[in-house]
């Protein structure tokens, strides 16, 4: 009656062992590490970087305990922080020969110190939330109205060009709110314009209106175009944020979309909010300038390399290592760029980047290219007041229409990167910080200690009380509670959930509530014994009858957990732990405790009495 089959015990033992293994990484703490990630969107971190870092370390005789390459970074672990600091400087020097213009970000970080075999089976510690490790959290709202206005402005310019090309005479194009208004004198021109617009501007919905003497075409973005514009703006802002945060040297930043128009940025370990805010709000810009052909001789280049370029020029090194002197005069800025997409050259089929300029940009570009055929122009990205030449192509012919193609000496990946870089140079729409949380590292440590102390002493109090009150059955209940804790932590680690202070509170509360199931069972067994049942029958009936009530109580708690999941912010961590805790507690309180009771009593032929405390009242 009170036996599980052998495979039942084996399965439970397996679950407990697995839970133990996956809980384990949380106890190893973290060891100091150096993390290398890309400092520029055009540079990838690959096995070569890992090899260079390792070589530099072994040359200098610095011992490291592990080096791994993941998708975006190389991480090297060290035994202590002194070695870590030394290694950081060393690796930084080895990878970034030009300290003023680093290609890689070499940052201090902490990595889980668990042995490699644990990491190999994906047993990783829980991720600590910002309230436990310290850091900054921003919630940014993207101004979507501005994104749409910007798009309409650039369309107005395009429309002007297009109508002029088609010789359609209009009485002016204006933007009013979220619409573009084009004025006409007579019906015929309006019809011609209307047709032209329908042909070349599929994103615009056009309506005819009259305004006194004037005939109007009122056009607005179609709903799907609005949606596309907004998605584009959000994506571009996220890309831009990624690039900028990379420069902060933050080890594990989180940049995520939230809802339709919000971005969450979390920077663990960053204390300097002023700098973080500055970098998030900064604009990187694109500049097109002419190469100073007349100065491109070895002497001038040498002088430039020494920091003394000829008057009116600036010295740059191209990405392929070619030195370059570029005029200070800016031909075009990135404001005129409406899009940049990777693609292929129509004739040579080489990888290329297609740029689109707005109306005015197109006019300037056409003029400049007409006057500078067979000369080189440089496309620069200006960040932190420092420029980098992305590419410096030769102008083959006059380029009209604002469609520019950059090609030559590029791989597909490079084309992708350059397009991304050009797009990511500036924010598509302004952003505003609508929520900020900064937690200092000392407070984070305090929170962990306090949360841990509260949970462990509460757990201990329950164990002592249960063991005194229900003797052996109390000890078994306590064991089940311990298994519950183990399972819960293992599950959270396995899901790589983020542990926050409300999460710790939820663990404590879950344990405090989970013991209810065992109290129900134990009380029922006592009652059965009092009613004259034999020990084996009492155990059986106790578990069977308490089960329905346990299920009941968990349904009500689950309803709470689910409704809390809807609330954003700090409570979500609480809700996740709460819901998972309900699942693990049902398993441990009923199945695990029953298995132990079965092991103790189920296999005996005769049971004299159960050690469940005093049940004799008379």
């Amino acid at each position: 009656m009170n036996r599980y089959p052998t495979w039942g015990y084996a399965l439970i033992a397996l679950a407990v062992i697995a839970a133990f293994l996956y809980t384990l990484p949380n106890f190893f703490g973290e060891s100091p590490a150096v993390q290398v990630s890309s400092g520029k969107a055009t540079i990838k971190v690959d096995a070569g970087v890992l090899a260079r870092a390792e070589e530099a370390l072994s040359k200098a005789g610095i011992a490291y305990t592990g080096a791994v390459l993941d998708q975006t970074s190389v991480r090297v672990r060290f035994a202590d922080t002194d070695t870590q600091l030394k290694a950081r400087d060393l690796v930084d020097r080895a990878l970034n020969p030009d300290a003023g213009n680093p290609s890689y970000i070499v940052a201090l970080n902490l990595l889980p110190a668990s042995p490699n075999w644990l990491s190999a089976m994906h047993a990783l510690p829980m991720y600590l939330g910002l309230d436990l490790r310290g850091g900054v959290h921003f919630l940014l709202q993207v101004d979507m109205q501005a994104a749409i206005t910007k798009r309409l402005e650039s369309m107005a310019a395009d429309l002007r060009t297009s109508l002029r090309e088609k010789n359609v005479r209009h009485g002016g194009i204006t933007r009013e709110g979220q619409t573009l208004r084009v004025r006409f004198r007579d019906q015929a021109t309006r019809d011609a314009a209307r047709n032209a617009m329908l042909d070349s501007f599929p994103d615009l919905a056009v309506i005819e209106r009259e305004d006194g003497q004037d005939l109007l075409l009122v056009s607005s973005l179609k709903p799907e175009a609005v949606k596309r514009t907004q998605e584009y703006a959000l994506r571009q802002n996220i890309t831009t944020l990624h690039n900028r945060i990379n420069e902060l040297g933050v080890a594990e930043p989180v940049i995520q979309q939230q809802g339709l128009d919000r971005v969450v940025v979390q920077l663990p370990g960053v204390q300097d909010t002023a700098k973080a805010k500055d970098i998030l709000g900064r604009t990187a810009s694109l500049e097109i300038r002419m190469v100073a052909e007349e100065h491109m001789n070895p002497a001038a280049l040498d002088a430039g390399a020494k920091g003394q370029p000829p008057f009116g020029t600036e010295y740059f090194v191209e990405r392929n290592g070619q030195p370059l002197l570029v005029r200070r005069q800016v031909v075009l800025t990135g404001d005129r760029l409406t899009d940049a997409q990777p693609g292929f050259d129509n004739q040579t089929n080489e990888p290329a980047v297609h740029l689109r300029l707005d109306g005015q940009g197109a006019r300037i570009f056409q003029e400049v290219t007409r006057e500078n055929v067979n000369k080189r122009m440089a496309i620069l990205l200006i960040e932190k007041g420092k420029g980098e030449v992305i590419t410096a192509p030769v102008i083959r012919s006059e380029i009209p229409g604002g469609r520019v193609q950059i090609s030559g000496r590029m791989t597909t990946t490079e084309a992708n990167d350059v397009a991304l870089l050009l797009r990511a140079g500036s924010l598509a729409a302004p952003m505003e910080i609508i929520e900020e949380r900064t937690v200092g590292p000392s407070l984070g440590r305090d929170n962990i200690e306090k949360g841990f102390k509260a949970t462990s002493s509460g757990f201990l109090a329950i164990v002592v009380f249960m063991s005194l009150y229900y003797t052996l059955f109390g000890v078994i209940s306590s064991l089940a509670l311990a298994v519950n804790l183990l399972l819960l932590v293992a599950l959270l680690s396995l899901l790589q959930a983020t542990l926050t202070l409300p999460g710790i509170a939820a663990i404590a509360l879950t344990l405090g509530m989970a013991i209810d199931a065992n109290v129900l069972i134990n009380e029922r067994i006592r009652e059965e014994l009092r009613g004259g049942a034999t020990p084996q029958a009492a155990i059986h009936a106790g578990y069977e009858r308490a089960w329905a009530t346990i299920l009941d109580s968990n349904v009500t708690t689950f309803i709470v957990g689910i409704s809390l999941l809807m609330v954003p912010g700090a409570v979500r961590g609480f809700a996740v732990v709460h819901c998972l805790g309900i699942l693990t507690s049902m398993f441990s309180a009923v199945v695990v405790s029953r298995a132990i009771v079965n092991l103790v009593y189920g296999h005996r032929r005769r049971v004299g009495r159960l050690f469940i405390g005093n049940t004799a009242w008379k």
């Binding site: 002023a274 900064t438 200092g440 949360g451």
Partner: protein
């Protein structure tokens, strides 16, 4: 060890009216305080800036207050946790760039005292705050509706109704405490309130299960007698369970620090009133609403039902 050796049924229902009057008075008081003093909502809900500053030595609250006042900031300054920590609360101002407010304030405080260390900043914009109020109310509503539906399904409507009245009365009383003492009502407190709601409904379910079981077993007993014997039967389990949960909550109150203080406090009030309301408020309500044996032993309802179906404890 055994705390409860109850040999006779305790006549709880004889005092039903007294319990209900006590409840009604506490409830009305809670509503009164909620209406007059309002909840002291945290900046998560109202929007605003909160800055926690740590000092090497005991902080001079008045000096900090004066300094900020001189700099033109309207701020509430108070000690937080220990004498070395200060909490500065600032409400949203129309013409103030709130994003870099915290930096300016910490700069001012550093100028005044070098040891000032920024421990925590929270800034919540107005739109986020009002959204959170909506989400919070929605969560409360979903929980309440979910629980009513569940009790409705599980029991007779009289039980569902009494259960939710008794437990929402708990929620209102917790909120009343927070309004009366002007304790800060934050997101974790909301979580605690909802957790308590689920927890005490569970309590009512245990009692109701027993009531139903006893209606079937005790054929000649009156409704009051049936309820009395049900409560007597589960009272030991009720108290032990709540004791265990309260032990955990007490350690949170003692060791959890300021961050968990109000969370644990809400749970404590909730657990205490949870015992009382689910046992001594819900059951009399069931009686007043006219629960009778016939509602459970109708042949149609019994057909195909196991004697032990449902929880029996």
């Amino acid at each position: 060890m055994e705390f409860f050796k109850i040999r006779r049924t305790i006549p709880f229902m004889r005092y039903a009216l007294v319990f209900n009057i006590i409840s009604a008075i506490t409830f009305l008081l809670a509503v009164f305080f909620l209406a007059t003093k309002h909840l002291n909502l945290s900046i998560e809900f109202t929007g605003g800036t909160l800055i926690e500053v740590g000092y090497q030595h005991a902080a001079d609250v008045d000096a900090v207050r004066r300094t900020l006042d001189r700099a033109g900031y309207k701020a509430e300054v108070q000690n937080f946790g220990s004498s070395r920590e200060l909490l500065i609360r600032m409400h949203l101002e129309k013409n103030q760039s709130s994003a870099d407010l915290s930096q300016k304030v910490i700069q001012i405080l550093r100028d005044q005292d070098k040891s000032a260390e920024l421990r925590r900043v929270e800034f919540v914009g107005p739109q986020v705050g009002s959204e959170l109020v909506n989400y919070g109310s929605l969560a409360l509503l979903v929980t309440a509706v979910g629980i009513v539906l569940y009790l409705w399904m599980r029991f007779e409507w009289r039980f569902g109704l009494s259960g939710i009245i008794a437990n929402l009365h708990d929620v209102v009383i917790i909120l009343g405490f927070f309004a009366f003492f002007q304790w800060e009502f934050s997101l974790p407190v909301l979580a605690a309130v909802l957790a308590v709601l689920g927890y005490s409904v569970n309590e009512s379910v245990v009692v109701f299960d027993r009531v139903r079981e006893n209606f079937r077993k005790m054929r000649k007993a009156s409704t009051a007698e049936v309820i009395d014997s049900a409560i007597t039967g589960v009272i030991s389990r009720t108290i032990i369970t709540h004791l265990c949960t309260q032990m955990m909550v007490t350690t949170m109150l003692l060791f959890g620090g300021q961050a968990l203080h109000y969370f644990a406090l809400a749970l404590t009030i909730g657990i205490l009133f949870g015992i009382y309301s689910s046992v001594l408020v819900a059951s009399p309500l069931v009686m007043w609403l006219g629960a009778r044996r016939e509602q459970f032993v109708k042949p149609t309802r019994r057909a195909g039902r196991d004697e032990h179906e449902g929880a029996v404890v």
